[in-house]
Amino acid sequence: MLNRKFIAGIIVFGSLWGFAECIIGSLLRDVNLPAGAIMTGVFAIGLMTLSRITFRQPGMQTGIGLVAGALRFFNPFGGCFVCSAIAIMAEGLLFDLIWTRFSLDQKTTWTRTLQVSLGITTAYLVYVGGYIVTQILTPLFSSAGFYVENIIVFIPQILASGLLAALLGVATIPAMFALKNAQIRMQDRLYYPVTIGVSAFCWVFVILNTLLIMWI
């Protein structure tokens, strides 16, 4: 039963993240805002933190990243969608590795200083890590190939671009802890209908949006 709940949790959190990337991310790009850093610093870190402190299960965020990345593939608009999908999957894995490496699941007391520090650290490392991974993997999957000098000369820009994500993480992670502490609970009989319904809505909306854009 726990495993089914866990898998349903992966699907719903991943679908929400993918939906945000495809719809809100596209809107942010259209108005020339730094969509990558905002999406990671707010939506990715927010959803992954909430899922982690709720389920306390290593591996969950890797799964969430895979679901969200897969949904991004269904929306081939707004920037480099291959890069976005790869970055999303890498961000899920990196978040998982950071929480597991620092054994954060065992920690029970989270002061505001620790929450803010965690926000800066995870948002920055996840964003910068995802950026580097996509800069390596996207050329590898293309006919141009990967050249290490291309990434070395761009490292200062990548390190600088993570600053906004880190600053957004300052607010996002404490907000997720506050949400968890609010003890909002869903009745068991509603859990599956709600998770399936929300996930289905996200996927149908993104696919219909893609078809609509292609048709126009």
């Binding site: 293309s142 993570g162 600053l163 880190a166």
Partner: protein, 131 residues
């Protein structure tokens, strides 16, 4: 060192690295109207007068053909080389001759390749290095 001390220290280090990098990027940003191709400086108007025009496969972009541009700027046996396109912000991508044959340079000095992902769209190109 416990996590209670390690995490704030790590966060401060990250803020320092990100802020220093931002200052470095701002200080080293290039602003030029000229484009350096194979050791020679050109304006975008000169390049547009030099090479033949090309439209992207999806008809969304127009510009000059990158392969023809390389030939017209004096590169012999262009198929033997690779080409590094560098933007004013330091973003750089290296492509093959085959990619150049499917690429164009827009009036806004942006590269568009019909056979490569959007990650290869280098904006505000300041140089094309022949390697």
């Amino acid at each position: 060192m416990g996590k209670d001390r390690l995490l704030p220290l790590l966060a401060l280090s990250i803020l320092f690295i990100a802020s220093s990098s931002s200052l470095y990027v701002y200080a080293t940003q290039t602003t030029t109207d000229a484009m350096l191709i194979n050791g020679q400086h050109y304006t975008i108007n000169q390049l547009f007068a030099l090479a033949k025009h090309r439209v992207s496969n999806d008809s969304q972009y127009t510009g000059i053909a990158l392969d023809d541009l390389m030939v017209k700027t004096g590169i012999s046996h262009p198929e033997q080389y690779q080409y590094s396109l560098k933007g004013a912000d330091g973003y750089e991508k290296t492509v093959t001759w085959q990619n150049m044959k499917n690429g164009l340079l827009t009036m806004n000095r942006e590269s568009v390749f019909s056979d490569l992902p959007k990650a290869f769209r280098v904006k505000d190109i300041v140089s094309i290095e022949v390697k």
